[in-house]
């Protein structure tokens, strides 16, 4: 009950109103969390996070495309000449040595998604060309012509044996 003392201190009432509004605001924000979180990838989507690939049938200079997390991954069997050329260059827009982009020099494994707008580049001559906006990549998946800002992503992967790799786990 309001007595004369509390009525004389309207600042205390204002404080209570503000605190209540703040707590209510936090509650509303907390209630939003499950709704926002429900839009993130579900467990079954997360479950398709690894892909095992047999690479023994890929001929030299051949590219095999496999889906990983719904994205295409290029597995490129490089020839000796291509390896030499790539080891001699360092990329253009996002410099990186060829060594940092492969585990075994004859096998290039990159995510086939253009780092600009997400189109799938095509293998054309040496390297790849993205037809959406004209970005070009070399045989190490390094961007040599914009508008793409970065090199093709190297996914985490490891060799199970000489003929099989698992993409998704380093």
């Amino acid at each position: 009950m309001a007595n004369d003392e509390t009525l004389a201190q309207p600042g205390r009432r204002d404080f209570l109103t503000q605190i209540t509004a703040a707590v209510g605001g936090v509650g509303v924000a907390a209630a939003c969390v499950p709704f926002v979180a429900s839009m993130n990838p579900s467990s079954d989507v997360l479950a398709k996070a690894t892909t095992e690939v047999d690479i023994s049938h890929i001929p030299p200079d051949g590219v095999h495309t496999v889906p990983w997390q719904g994205k295409p991954v290029f597995i490129f069997h490089r020839t000796e000449e291509q390896i030499k050329q790539m080891q001699a260059s360092n990329g253009v827009l996002d410099p990186a040595t060829d060594k940092t982009r492969v585990q075994q020099p004859q096998w290039l494994v990159v995510v086939g998604v253009c780092t600009h707008m997400g189109c799938v580049p095509n293998k054309e001559g040496p390297g790849w060309v993205c037809h959406c906006h004209g970005s070009e990549y070399d045989d190490s998946g390094r961007v040599i012509r914009g508008p793409a800002p970065k090199n093709l992503e190297v996914p985490p992967y490891h060799f199970v044996d000489d003929s099989r790799i698992v993409i998704g786990v380093a």
Binding site: P41, H133, G146, A148
Partner: protein, 414 residues
């Protein structure tokens, strides 16, 4: 009996007075030209899209394995399914055409100027909602263009600082555009039109507060307003007849002319079509995105190219009344801008080559410069017109208006 029922309602709800004040008796400038028909037409197309969309949703299946086939099912098996779909797809283009003309009229006649800023901004919000709705609807047929269009546009959000990649995955609900993306786009494509209806109500409340602008650009409400019904109901319905003729020519004779053939191929996440293009109504903005060599810069430029219209009430600093009709310099600017939009549309449609990229960069530069130079040009034009004298028609209108105000204030005409 009918009168009794209306009287019963009127005691509890302002039915008659609402209809009288806001619909039939709504005071409207009598000099409105046919350019003022397009707001009504936009409302009509909105209803058309909602109705055809609801009936399409009764047959459509939002699932990556079923949606492409469900479109074929609608086209071949559902009674008049082809008609519903062609009406809806053509309706999307019609909506943008009508809105672009509606906006062009506002820009030409200076209808965005004081006191109609809020009316203009609610319209800007409606444009964003319309673009979002159209974009999400385009994914639903799950063709190649649907898939790659959605991939490119959701990728734009990678330009968000720090959390770009997470935002994109959150928007898609998957690492790529997938089943989760399709179902949420369907849910939102169904929701957004109702948000648009709500925003249209706000737009109309703003309109009915400040009333319609008119081709003279001067407030003629003291003497020249006439009731909306029957004058403008008749004019709007006459315009609707012409609109429906054009619309039906497309629906019945050229329904595929605005559809990309590549969208008749089911979505394939492993293969991008060689030439991906957005729907025609996004082409100028897409051209601006492509003309900036830097990714983040391109996204910012594209966002700005849509939002920059909101600044018009402040960019145009001229106090000369009347639209472009009485402002020769501004008129030239409007025509340059319209032409530039066409050039950007052409650039957005063609595959990127060195020539079209350069043309796109020039056109994008002109696009922004028309806005950014406007404060200086409009002020210079104002000074020049004050010195040179107004257009004789405008002079007469201003004189008549001043005498009307003087009369209303109890003074005589001098």
């Amino acid at each position: 009996m009918a009168n009794k029922i209306i009287a019963w309602v009127d005691r509890r709800f302002p039915l008659t007075s609402f209809v009288k004040h806001e619909l039939t008796g709504y005071p409207t400038p009598r000099n409105l030209s046919y350019w003022w028909n397009f707001g009504f037409l936009a409302g009509f197309v909105l209803v058309l899209q909602v109705v055809t969309g609801i009936f399409l949703a009764m047959h459509y299946k939002a699932d990556v394995n079923l949606s492409f086939d469900s479109i074929q099912h609608i086209m071949r098996d559902v009674n008049y399914g082809w008609l519903l779909r062609y009406m809806h797809a053509t309706g999307a283009s019609a909506f943008f055409l009508v809105i672009f003309i509606h906006m062009a009229r506002t820009l030409y006649y200076g209808s965005y100027r004081r006191p109609r800023e809020l009316l203009w901004w609610t319209g800007q919000g409606l444009l964003i909602l319309l673009m979002a709705t159209a974009f999400m609807g385009y994914l639903l047929p799950w063709g190649q263009m649907s898939f790659w269009g959605a991939t490119v546009i959701t990728n734009l959000f990678r330009a968000t600082p720090f959390v770009g990649d997470q935002i994109v995955i959150w928007l898609r609900g998957d690492f790529t555009v997938g089943d989760a993306t399709l179902t949420r786009f369907f849910a939102l494509h169904y929701l957004f039109p109702f948000l648009i209806v709500g925003a249209v109500v706000v737009h109309l409340v703003a309109l009915h507060t400040v009333k319609s602008s008119n081709p003279s650009g001067i407030d003629l409400s003291h003497k020249d307003n006439i009731p909306f019904h029957p004058y403008f109901t008749a004019k709007d319905f006459y315009g609707l007849g012409w609109f429906l003729i054009v619309y039906c020519v497309f629906v019945f004779f050229y329904p595929d002319s605005l559809m990309e053939p590549a969208n008749n191929i089911p979505a394939n996440p492993m293969l991008t079509p060689n030439h991906i293009v957005p729907e025609w109504y996004f082409l100028p903005f897409y051209a601006i995105l492509r003309s900036v060599p830097n990714m983040v810069g391109g996204v910012v430029a594209m966002g700005l190219s849509v939002m920059i219209f909101a600044f018009m009430p402040y960019l145009d600093r001229s106090r000369i009344p009347g639209g472009a009709h009485y402002r020769p310099v501004y008129r030239v600017l409007v025509y340059i801008f319209a032409l530039d939009m066409l050039v950007l549309g052409y650039v957005g449609y063609t595959p990127p080559t060195d020539g079209t990229i350069l043309l796109g960069q020039i056109a994008a530069f002109v696009y922004f410069m028309t806005f950014l130079c406007l404060p200086f040009i409009s002020k210079a034009e104002e000074n020049w017109l004050l010195k040179r004298g107004f257009h004789p028609e405008l002079e007469a209108l201003v004189a008549a208006e001043q005498s009307a105000i003087a009369l209303r204030n109890g003074g005589g005409v001098k």
